[in-house]
Amino acid sequence: MSLEGIVTLENVNRVYHMGDHEIHALKDISLSLETGKLVVVLGPSGSGKTTLLNVLGAIDKCDGKITVNDLEITRLGKKQLTKYRRKKCGFIFQFFNLLPVYNALENVEYAIELATNLSRKEVTERATEYLRKVGLFEKRFHFPSQLSGGEQQRVAAARAMAKSPELLLCDEPTGELSVNEGKKVLTVIQNMVKERSDVLTILVTHNQKIAAIGDTIVRLRSGEVDSIEEQTPIPAEQLSW
């Protein structure tokens, strides 16, 4: 099987040491995920889903082997990992994590400017385009403090996608949002997945209902893969929870 366009995890383990205790957050995980899909990682609290996302995003270390489109990130040094995150990963955090000193447009511009060699004009154009896509063109000059949680998360989605990553990593993106706001954010993510067949989107949630928007559901339990299911996703607008 060709590894092109595929993210693979081979025997990935992550052990946390809490005093004398060892917590196996990930136990011998092996997975192969294709780009162009929305993979929902589902599991209860403590199942290791966020840890899985973190090791894929190279913000946490692990044992084993992770390859993203031929690049074995588990062998990379600190500087290369930074470059990997900059160029290949887009993050959507539970708490939005926008830069409060920048307005919506600047938050998106920051990520594009960092990851690409585009001119200033092109950076602004692309950032504007993505904000339009997430429905925030009118509020592009608003600062995070002037946006609702859902709007902030949509800016975060635009920031993550505008730099054309290979991996879009979403950690409980609706965890802090109301149902309506959450649906809007999920719609944005779903639309982006449709547009970009070269991106693998991994969305971590504990909410069974949200899992319905994914092409693949990876169920985790106590750090192990419980099951992997392929499904036909339903549009996020139709969700209710």
Partner: protein
């Protein structure tokens, strides 16, 4: 309660280094308070005790012409004893009296002549029995012995400690006294409460042991030396304790009236103990120590309070959600306030304990340090002053209470829900584009979002944050620039005085005033190779008064030929100009007398009434008042100085011939070797009753010795400044980075390199440092003014305030280095953040 204590402990433990730095600042404040105030108490007590133990005279009274040789100069010892006994019977408050000779003369020590004073008293009591101490104005034997029993006709002496220290004189050595250089054997070295501060004549702006010394002689030996057998010229009176100055003056006036009316004696006005030069100067000096002991801790503790306020203010903002949760769980407002107040009080307690312990440990150094600097031969007794310790503890705790209470009180919302909704990272962000960026935008300057725009935005993200960041820099720059400015102002004033204002290379001072000054000057210029120019002046003491002020100012009155070509002084006129018919006053004198240009002042100066001999000049004087018009006001290093035309001074003083007491020489190529050669040549061939020939470097050195205490105080301030700066900057930068921890983690997660992050933080801190430097320099200047003009209010030396470009640069660089060093530690921990956790975390 136990839970609150536990919470306090946890909070402190989590930020121990930051809290420790604030505790350290409090500790420094309390240490300096304890040390300096206790030193003041020790010194005051010690010297009061010394004055009491050694029976310092309540007042002294000299004959009308104590330096002369006529009838009004000396009084018969035996008669005066009878008169005083008679007076004592009438006035029981007179405890004891002493009849002495106090006479200015010349000493020759190791071949070098210098001015000095002999003080002589009887070695016998009224019953004719030997005594080793006089009844009034006693002394402390530091080494050697008192006058031996059979010494009253012998040429033996006791040398005052400053003179002995300067010349390293020991018992058994000899010192030649008087015009005829009669050798006297030193039997002991003494410390005298009368001469705690080396004082000299008031015309001498730089009294130093080399220029003025005191030697005590047995009365008979002094009478024999001066040719005034059986006579004295001073009465020292000790009154019973507890009398007011008014009462003392009344008794002194009664005594004067009694002696003048009944026995036709001629006496000068009495000098009360409060006006005695040494007593008065010492009060000034130790008062200075006390003011420093109050002002310095106030500044330091004020900064500690500010630091606590900022630290807790930002801490409660970061923890407002926790506060909300606590409120929601049922904790009352009082308990929450108590918890945070507990933190600030714990810091204050730690700081106060450390400060108190250090203060007590250093106690035995503070007072002796001052005493050593003042070269006072009475060592203070070091004891723990518990009231001061208690006040120190209260001040330390108040620092914690005030610094902690206000930020905590303000952060607790009435409704817990408000706290629960609170996002601290948004709280520290105004959500506006800063004005400076908007201005730059107008000029089409738009920094990149990944470039300078981020540090600029960070810098202006909230007023409180900007204020506290800049505050730290302002503290640092102001303290450093003030400390350096103090040294620089003094250095510059000295440099200006000696390198610019004073244009001579060698200065010749005469023991006795010659009356052929121009002839001496001509001879030296013609015969000594290398002398390119020569001028001379006549220096006289004078008291200046004006109708605008009740106080008089004692000045050194310089009579000089012309301002052009005068080597002794280049005038820096603040107003007016030189006019030989008028007078030029210094700023402090003019200000003190409340007079200005063209106003008139009166000068009380000695006028010659009877000429005894012309070479050297020996004469009788009376004090006369002459009116002068102010033609110029100068802002000069010498604070208490006035200049008049030489001819005018000679005329009003009624001096014969061409008198001068100083000749100033300009030397071609004045290397130290050459100056030494010329000095030796003049000494060897042209004696002219020369007391001293000094180079400018030597005179400057003497002045520096005199300013030693001040310099040492400034060094202490400088050390405090640097310590405080580091502590406060560390705290602020640490908080700044801690507050941004989630943002930093986010930036790193989305791919910002460490290098870029370091650059952004450094740029932000550089902007903070630059802005803080501007305000810091302004505050530094104000503090410099406050210290130099208010705390160290010296009219003897007029120091022009000055902060050089070097100091500005140094203050910035030192602070900037401090910033870079202190940003290293929190930045290092930020760069090693666990990104997975930090991106999910709320701000600290």
């Amino acid at each position: 309660m136990a839970k609150t204590v536990k919470n306090i402990y946890r909070a402190i433990n989590a930020h121990k280094l930051r809290f420790l730095t604030i505790a350290l600042v409090i500790a420094i404040g309390i240490t300096s308070f304890n040390g300096m105030i206790t030193a003041f108490v020790h010194m005051t007590r010690t010297y009061d005790q010394a004055f009491e133990d050694h029976n310092m005279a309540s007042f002294t009274m000299q004959t009308a012409n104590p330096g002369g040789s006529g009838e009004d100069a000396w009084i018969d010892y035996a008669n005066l004893t009878k008169f005083l006994n008679e007076f004592q019977e009438q006035e029981p408050r007179v405890k004891a009296y002493e009849l002495r000779i106090v006479h200015n003369t010349v000493f020759e020590i190791r071949g070098i002549r210098q001015n000095g004073q002999i003080v002589a008293m009887s070695t016998q009591d009224s019953g004719g029995n030997y005594r080793d101490q006089p009844d009034v104005n006693g002394y402390k034997i530091i080494s050697g012995t008192p006058f031996p029993e059979l010494s009253r006709y012998q040429n033996v002496c006791l040398v005052e400690a400053h003179l002995a220290e300067y010349w390293k004189l020991d018992p058994q050595e000899f010192i030649a006294i008087g015009d005829t250089s009669i050798p006297f054997e030193i039997v002991g070295v003494i410390g005298s409460p009368e001469y705690l501060i080396n004082q000299g004549s008031f015309a001498d702006i730089m009294p130093s042991p080399r220029r003025f010394g005191v030697v005590f002689l047995p009365l008979k030996a002094a009478q024999s030396l001066l040719g005034v057998e059986g006579r004295v010229n001073e009465i020292s009176v000790l009154l019973k304790e507890g009398l007011s100055k008014n009462s003392r003056e009344k008794i002194a006036n009664n005594l004067k009236l009694f002696l003048e009316t009944n026995y036709d004696l001629k006496l000068s006005e009495s000098v009360d103990i409060d006006n005695q030069a040494s007593y008065w100067l010492l009060r000034l000096d130790i008062e200075e120590a006390r003011e420093f002991g109050i002002v310095l801790p106030i500044i330091i503790l004020g900064m500690a309070m500010g630091g606590l306020y900022v630290l807790l203010g930002r801490m409660v903002v970061a923890e407002r959600k926790d506060i909300g949760v606590a409120q929601a769980l049922g904790y009352d407002r009082k308990t929450i306030i108590l918890q945070y107040l507990g933190i600030s009080m714990a810091i204050a307690v730690v700081g106060t304990i450390i400060g108190t312990i250090l203060g007590l440990l250093f106690l035995s150094y503070f007072s002796p340090f001052y005493v050593d600097m003042l070269t006072i031969p009475f060592t203070p007794e070091v004891t723990i002053e518990w009231p001061i310790v208690i006040v120190g503890v209260i001040i330390g705790l108040l620092t914690g209470l005030v610094g902690g209470y206000f930020p905590v009180r303000g952060s607790i919302q009435a409704l817990p829900a408000e706290s629960l909704r609170f996002d601290p990272s948004l709280h520290i962000t105004s959500g506006k584009i800063p004005l400076i960026e908007r201005i730059l935008n107008k000029f089409k300057i738009r920094p990149k979002v990944t470039g300078l725009r981020l540090p600029i935005r960070n810098f202006f993200r909230s007023k409180r944050r900007t204020f506290s960041s800049v505050f730290a820099i302002v503290v640092s720059v102001s303290l450093i620039s003030m400390a350096f400015g103090m040294m620089e102002s003094m250095d510059r004033s000295l440099t200006f005085y000696y390198d610019v204002s004073e244009d001579w290379d060698l200065r010749i001072d005469f023991s006795e005033i010659p009356t052929n000054a121009s002839q001496i000057a001509r001879t030296i210029k013609q015969k000594v190779a290398g002398v390119t120019d020569i001028t001379y002046h006549l220096l006289s003491g004078a008291i200046v008064t004006s109708s605008e002020s009740t106080q008089g100012k004692q000045v050194s009155l310089v009579g000089m030929n012309d301002s052009n070509g005068y080597l002794g002084h280049t005038f820096d006129f603040e107003a007016g100009d030189w006019n030989p018919d008028g007078i030029v006053l210094s700023v402090p004198v003019a200000e003190g007398l409340n007079v200005g240009l063209n106003d008139e002042v009166k000068l009380e100066l000695p006028r010659l009434t009877k000429l005894v001999s012309t070479t050297p000049l020996r004469a009788h004087f009376e004090l006369v008042n002459i009116t002068f018009q102010i033609n110029g006001i100068i802002d000069e290093f010498n604070g208490l100085v006035a200049f008049v035309g030489l001819d005018h001074l000679v005329e009003v003083s009624n001096f014969p011939g061409e008198p001068a007491n100083t000749i100033l020489l300009k030397i071609e190529n004045p290397t130290p070797e050459r100056l030494e050669l010329i000095r030796e040549e003049i000494k060897a061939n042209y004696s002219y009753n020369i007391r001293n020939i000094a180079t400018k470097a030597e005179q400057r050195g003497e002045l520096l010795d005199l300013l030693d205490l001040l310099y040492n105080i400034i060094y202490i301030v400088a050390i405090f400044a640097v310590l405080l700066s580091c502590a406060i900057i560390y705290n602020t930068i640490y908080i700044n980075l801690q507050e941004q921890q989630r943002e930093i983690a986010t930036l790193l997660t989305i791919g910002t390199s460490n290098r870029k992050l370091i650059r952004n933080v450094t740029v932000e801190n550089t902007v903070i440092t630059l802005l803080g430097t501007v305000f810091g320099l302004i505050l530094g200047w104000i503090m410099l003014w406050f210290f130099m003009r208010v705390i160290l209010d010296m009219e003897f030396f007029r120091i022009k305030l000055f902060i050089s470009n070097n100091t500005i640069f140094t203050s910035f660089i030192l602070t900037y280095i401090g910033v870079l060093i202190t940003q290293f530690f929190p930045l290092r921990s930020a760069l090693n953040l666990n990104l997975a956790e930090a991106t999910k975390e709320r701000v600290v």
